[in-house]
Amino acid sequence: MKTIAKSRLNELLKALDKEYNILVPFKEESVSKFVPWQEGVDPYFEENTLLPPKDILFPQTEKMYGFKVKDKSVEIEELTQEKGQQIIFGLRSCDAYSIDCLDKVFLTKGYEDGFYRQKRENTLLWALACTKPQDSCFCESIGIDPREAVCADVQIYDLGEEWGFTARSAAGEELLQKLEGLFTDKDAEPLPVQGFSITVDMEGVPEKLANMFDHPLWEEVSRKCLGCAACTYLCPTCHCFDIAGSVKGGQGYKFRCWDSCMFSEYTRMAGGHNPRPSKKERVRNRFLHKLYYFVERYGQLLCTGCGRCLAKCPVNMDITAIIRKIKEAQQQ
């Protein structure tokens, strides 16, 4: 393993900064998120970030193209800013798994999202192995290994006084070789992962959900939901978006922005009909999507076990409690 003393992390970041935009977790007041690194930014590795890194590849608001009316025709202008090479440094296994899910959505099944692809192609993931699960973490129950992230280019380990790095892809290997001089090669044992306070048995849940569309349990669990978008915007895998335009006179631009299936008007159609008219349908849709539809379509769960939703939901809607209810539910 390649190691570097924790006190020398800045040197590593500075060296990487020459060719890459580095995004590191950073905490300001009580909000932690990924920010571009520069001298003076002290990365925050104590806990997982509140805001997931999905908005690095899938921004909350993104201009797509501009248009201008010229005589009788329209001029189109590409507006997406080409991102240079970047590294997401210090994301956890849950968030790396979420990027894997987003890759499946935006890059597979016949349509490639150009906006997402341009950013993803130029992004390397340096994933950080967790040592201390937070109160709301349950990634292990989902089948995610907190110490080994999927689709990581480099895996970072906390060795106590040092950081350890192992390449997990060709690109990662190449980069570590380039920075050879900063590291000390040695055999090192990463710190173990401490226990999880939340565990949930996922066995058979997607299969059972296939027949639970009309189950009365959805009425019960959806009653306390407020219908805000806190869970969806904090969720690392949620990817619904709306497309709208901003027009001033003869010119404007089209943009896309995050939307949430929890909003009451999310499925409202032009005639006024809304196939998900009440909270029950919307809550049911959210959990079926996470635990069943995505499994059916892509073969993996859309929940990463990061626990942000149940930590920040104003009424403590708990996906693990709902999974337990699903397991106990009588088949109708």
């Binding site: 909000v31 909350q60 608001t61 407020l226 915007y233 709208a244 922005c257 104003p314 403590n316």
Partner: protein, 295 residues
């Protein structure tokens, strides 16, 4: 607190088994020891899930907005602040007093769940900011009261101090402060959805026609949203502080709402929303001799 939980269960059991109500709104323990969540009970077997502890933050009166057309009476447990929400909804003609059976619980103040993250049960936890300046710990409307009345005690004044600090700043400093805050807003509308004063059948921000606000997240739209919401609830805010507590980004929303309340008191006299259901909200009526300082 335990004694109160037991009494809550007895009352709920009694009401449900006698069919006086067919739904009870209360709280139960959530995913962690420092989380208590809303609970809807319609079966007697479930009453033993009811608890009241220092993390029962949720203002259950908000749910009455959805239950306005419920076919039977609803029983609801309320703290001091929550009970003002019930009066608020009665004033707004959203519900009728006869539709609810109000069980009041005098509240000694709640703890801050964000401060409890990572701690073990029993370790000291800070008081919730929203409870620090509480003036109405005892429910102002109730059919029955559980527990002894409590004296209102000031436990701190974080919000009042922040408002004072902001008032002393220059215009540009204030603008920079609020801009920094609103840049962090993710427009999840948790603040609006948790607020009992926000009871519009169709919220201005949900309308597509006219298109007041889309979903794009930028500073200008965030400012528009918060300024508009602050003015729309002006004079009707019951100071429960749920908006600030629910906000995932910890925006200091009470520094906005309490400032408006302060201005209303200064300009138009004592006007506490939700205390007297007969009284009209400050912006819903007028006096002939209202101040006209700038006209």
């Amino acid at each position: 607190m335990n004694e109160i939980s037991l009494q809550m269960r007895e009352i709920a059991r009694d009401l449900l088994s006698k069919n006086e109500v067919n739904l009870v709104l209360g709280w139960e323990k959530g995913s962690h020891w420092y989380k208590s969540a809303p609970l809807f009970i319609n079966k007697v077997e479930d009453v033993d899930r009811l608890v009241f502890d220092e993390f029962c933050h949720n203002n259950l009166s908000k749910y009455l907005v959805d239950l306005a057309h419920h076919e039977a009476k609803v029983a609801i447990f309320v703290k001091g602040c929550d009970s003002r929400g019930i009066n608020r909804l009665i004033q707004d003609n959203v519900i009728k007093r006869e539709q609810v059976y109000v069980i009041g619980i005098p509240c000694r103040g709640l703890k801050d769940p964000d401060d409890a993250v990572g701690k073990k049960c029993g370790e000291p936890v800070k008081d919730a900011v929203k409870c620090q300046e509480c003036r109405y710990p005892n429910p102002v409307v109730h059919d029955i009261m559980v527990g002894e009345q409590v004296n209102a005690t000031a436990r701190g004044q974080e919000t009042a101090a922040l408002i004072e600090k902001l008032e002393k700043m220059t215009q540009d400093e204030r603008y920079n402060y609020w801009s920094r805050q609103f840049e962090c807003c993710i427009r999840c509308y948790a603040c609006r959805n948790v607020c009992p004063a926000c009871s519009c059948r169709e919220c201005i921000f949900d309308r597509a026609v006219p298109d007041w606000l889309g979903k794009a997240n930028n500073l200008a739209e965030n400012q528009f949203m918060h300024l508009t919401r602050a003015m729309h609830v002006a004079g009707r805010c019951i100071e429960c502080g749920e908006c600030e507590r629910a906000c995932p980004m910890n925006l200091p929303l009470m520094a906005l709402n309490k400032k408006i309340i302060k201005d209303i008191e200064e300009l138009f006299g004592e006007n506490d929303a939700g205390i007297d259901p007969e009284k009209k909200p400050p912006l819903g009526h007028f006096e002939l001799n209202d101040p006209e300082k700038f006209m």
